[in-house]
Amino acid sequence: MKIFLDTILVGLSGGAIYSLMSLALVLVWRSTRVVNFAAAGQAILSTYIGYEAMNRMHNYWLSLPIAVLAGALISAIVEALIMRPLAKRSAGTPVESIAPVIATLGVLGGVRSLAGLIWGNTFVQYTSPLSSKGYTIGATTIPFSPQNAAIVIGALIVMAIFATIFTFTRLGLALRAASFQPEIARLSGVRVDRIRTIGWAFAGAAGAVAGALVTPTAYLSPNSLDLLLVSGFVAAVIGGLESLVGAVVGGLVLGVGFAFILQYIGTSVTFSAAFIILIIVLLIRPQGIFGRRSGREA
């Protein structure tokens, strides 16, 4: 029983990170219908900026908001300078739907090389003052550390902020309208181009939180978030790609699923497990757990 509960705890903390990356992907998908492979690259860049900030200020907590702001800004720049002109130029051509996706792969590669040029391709430590040793309750130590707690709490805060913005604010309504029916949104006075950039900025912020929270449990290198991209993508698809709640639940399901596979089967299959979970979910519910079966109108 203890192993079972421990496994769930491990899974929730991992899952919280997947949820954040999944949110980053879903926010971009919803606002511009692009699968953003560059999300991992953007998060790497913002995490390095957080790392630089910490080296200068010697305070992890102050470096977090800097990383998040950097993440939002990087993402907004990618949208405004690359994705938006590309979408306009490719509109009506046969590559309309695929060109932006390929472009995000280009951005991913470019950003990784840039990070390598600036910070080198070696591992560096971006450390948090929180311990990564599990809490001790009575005589037993559980596999859930203060840093894990920070990850879960951080993810919950980000989700609560997004849920509030999307549900209760005019900005949130504009974001939803622009993603569901851009033409009706424009005819209602929504500045759709600007709103899309904001959607990307939110996504960049979510990815930055994921990068800055997960990195202290491991190390930082230009490629260190690549696996997180895969997990985030699988989580997003499990969640139905459209839904913010789905993104979060998808991440948690995947995190717990991973933890159980790791605990009861072994490390060697963890990576393939992501895809096995993905295929099983798609076969049972192709639209994802939170996707609409009917699909969107128009």
Partner: protein
């Protein structure tokens, strides 16, 4: 002070969908654009609301050119387009769809006032505020689309086929609502319709177009009583 359109030309792919079209609509007037499928009616409205680029010609509202502007900016200058086919966002609730109409407006008090006016005019929307727009009937969706436009406080309302796919009784309700709104709010309305009979009963004038060109402009009474036009365009 009018909607003034001169020698307008709009391409739709390789086709010249609007070809050298000129007409004016006076302030406070309701004009209906009549024509068969493919006559260019929808293209005309989409060009006027900034959704489609114009090749040549001019169009102005209250003395200001409305060409080469974005739809979201034209909304701010009072030109509101209710596009074809019950233009609501099914994923949002009724009240969110209505809120969208006032989303850009600074005068929040007037947005609230306009919203109550709309709910008074369409009590069925008031009963369904928290429901998803996808649960509404066709007629209710059209009411919602028009209601959202009214909350933007338009001066020029462009309506594209509000009767499309609706039962005759519902069409009568929608046209009665349009008629009431334009008189109450002093709106100028350009109404595109295939249902020419219903449209002409509430319109001051009708403009008949065919293959993007002007066929005739006349008062509704004259058009309804012209035997040649009746057989060609009104179908009886």
């Amino acid at each position: 002070m009018t909607l003034q359109i001169e020698h307008l030309r709009v391409q739709h792919g390789a086709i010249t969908a609007i070809d050298d079209l000129s007409f004016t609509v006076n302030e406070g007037e309701l004009v209906t654009i009549i024509g068969s499928n493919g006559a260019g009616k929808t293209t005309l409205l989409r060009a006027l609301s900034g959704l489609l680029p114009v090749i040549s010609g001019s169009a102005s509202w209250l003395g200001q050119s409305i060409l080469r502007k974005r739809p979201e900016d034209l909304v701010r200058s009072g030109i509101v387009h209710v596009s074809e086919g019950k233009a609501v966002i099914p994923e949002l609730t009724v009240s969110e769809n209505l809120a969208l109409g006032g989303i850009w407006r600074k005068d929040r008090r007037d947005v609230a006032a306009a919203t109550s006016e709309v709910l008074e005019l369409f009590p069925r929307l008031a009963e369904r505020l928290k429901q998803g727009a996808d649960t509404l009937s066709g007629g209710e969706r059209q009411m919602l689309a028009i209601g959202r436009a009214i909350i933007s406080r338009p001066t020029l309302l462009l309506l594209d086929e509000p009767s499309l796919g609706l039962a005759p009784l519902v069409i009568d309700q929608i046209f009665a609502a349009i008629d009431a709104l334009r008189h109450r709010l002093g709106l100028t309305v350009v109404l595109v319709e295939q249902n020419a009979m219903s449209a002409l009963t509430i319109a001051d004038r009708g403009i008949i177009i065919n293959l993007g060109k002007l066929v005739t402009i006349n008062t509704s009474d004259q058009l309804l009583n012209d035997p040649a036009l009746r057989s060609a365009y009104l179908g009886y």
